[in-house]
Symmetry: C2
Subunit: 245 residues, 2 copies
DNA sequence: CAAATTTGTCTATTGTTATAGACAACCAAA
DNA sequence: TTTGGTTGTCTATAACAATAGACAAATTTG
């Protein structure tokens, strides 16, 4: 809102920096409260750039589906607030976002059996090289991708979980079909990085976007690890909320 | 590691994308395990770009202190792994990083009394406009900035906490001097965004870097809010780790 | 309807980014 | 000391990013 200072010759084009600022201001409610963006000339003045540079930023956000421009009328906001994804002992995708989004959906991209890498083995508590089942999924809220995840399960205990997921389209239900009626989250690490080419494709992001990466271990009620998952959230569309108990 | 696909005309210069990839690969241990980077020609081949483009990326990382090039010998890694910052009920900066870093330090940038914004008021449980004390701090580990934070306290209850912080250089000790012997974290939200100009300056980042933004409320043992804090972590240097209990 | 406001399109110029090739400077090892 | 591998510097050219100005096209307001 203030005379935000943009970085020149930083390797990040001004139009992209401005697009990121506007997207963020919309997500936090700083801008677009009335449903419309200020005129291009005003934005150009605010950021001390040429009107054409602002137009490039708006064009990018229009491509993303955040804005919509109409000749003679103005530029309008199409999507507003960020979703808040809760991380707690009992974290489940649809339940957590249920009250914020109209519809939620988790799609299976791929499932396969592979041998456990060192990281996966450590987190699942099995020897490295043991067979594990990997599920690649994408979760959407209101038709827009919110996160993608890769989950690993011990193949000896969870044989057939891929098919169970195919039937129920839900990790919770698939686990239930495998005899796990309850599970809790043991630990989560969070980092942030620029989206990879895969992230951009699968989450329908723009280049230069940011993803929040979480790595989590879920355990059954006896404390045995049952699932290790690496998730990537579109940082524009979601924030993570940790509730202590 | 693989033939990572770079995005052209994305508003993010190729040299910056490559710098981000290399930095990330070093942080995760994918690259530079032997302490040195592959030759420039090899990297140029891997990313399918000109050698000069790779050189720009390396120059940026050299400026950041991540790499060091020596003519005739090669390019070497100066900093390796990311710190892991724990978020739990009892989160304290120096205690959490103590075992990972040699020295930790929190410096006071500014302190002032102001009237509570709506957000601050909501989180501290005081009426909007009430006087609050704001502390702006930067925390360092081994001489490198890790995070910056803005904290707010109810001025009526914590008068003089700015001076107490000046004496002890620790939030925990300053609170203790104000009669709060224990406090717990009630909630934390996490988001990720590109670093602002201020972030870049105070955390000594490069343009286009990512920050993890956390907003947390700490309460005393009776459950009364005592501190609301907005922190920004350099995503290259730290990950957040949430332990369920 | 006329005027004011706003987005859309076009031309032109300058600075930054990326590519290409050549060679110098330096280091380590044969 | 010679050779091969590596980083450092220079020149030149093409593609992209940013600035500047002008005017068209569409909408709203008076």
């Amino acid at each position: 809102m203030t005379g935000a200072v943009l970085e020149r010759k930083s390797g990040v084009a001004l139009w992209r920096q401005i697009a990121d600022l506007i997207r963020s201001d919309i997500a936090t409610g700083v801008a677009g409260q009335d449903g419309r963006l200020p005129p291009e000339m005003e934005l150009a003045k605010r950021y001390s750039v040429n009107r054409h540079t602002v137009r490039s930023a708006i064009a990018a956000l229009e491509q993303e589906g955040v804005l919509r421009s109409e000749q003679g009328r103005g530029t309008f906001v199409r999507r507003r607030k960020r979703l808040s994804y809760p991380i707690a002992k009992r974290t489940r995708f649809s339940a957590g976002l249920g009250n914020q989004a109209g519809s939620t959906l988790t799609r299976l991209l791929e499932s396969m059996e592979e041998s456990a890498s060192q990281t996966v083995a450590d987190n699942l508590g099995v020897p490295a090289g043991d067979p594990v089942i990997r599920l690649d999924t994408v979760s959407e809220a209101d038709g827009l991708p919110v996160s993608r995840a890769t989950s690993w399960f011990d193949a000896s205990r969870f044989a057939g979980i891929d098919e169970a997921f195919g039937e129920h389209a839900s990790i919770t239900k698939a686990l239930s079909a495998c005899g796990v009626t309850d599970y809790v989250r043991k630990s989560t690490t969070i980092e942030a990085r620029h989206a990879s080419a895969d992230d951009i494709r699968l989450l329908r992001l723009s280049a230069g976007a940011i993803v929040l990466v979480t790595r989590a271990v879920n355990t059954d009620s006896d404390g045995n690890p049952i699932q290790y998952a690496e998730s990537r959230f579109a940082a524009d569309r979601v924030e993570l909320k940790i509730e202590s108990d």
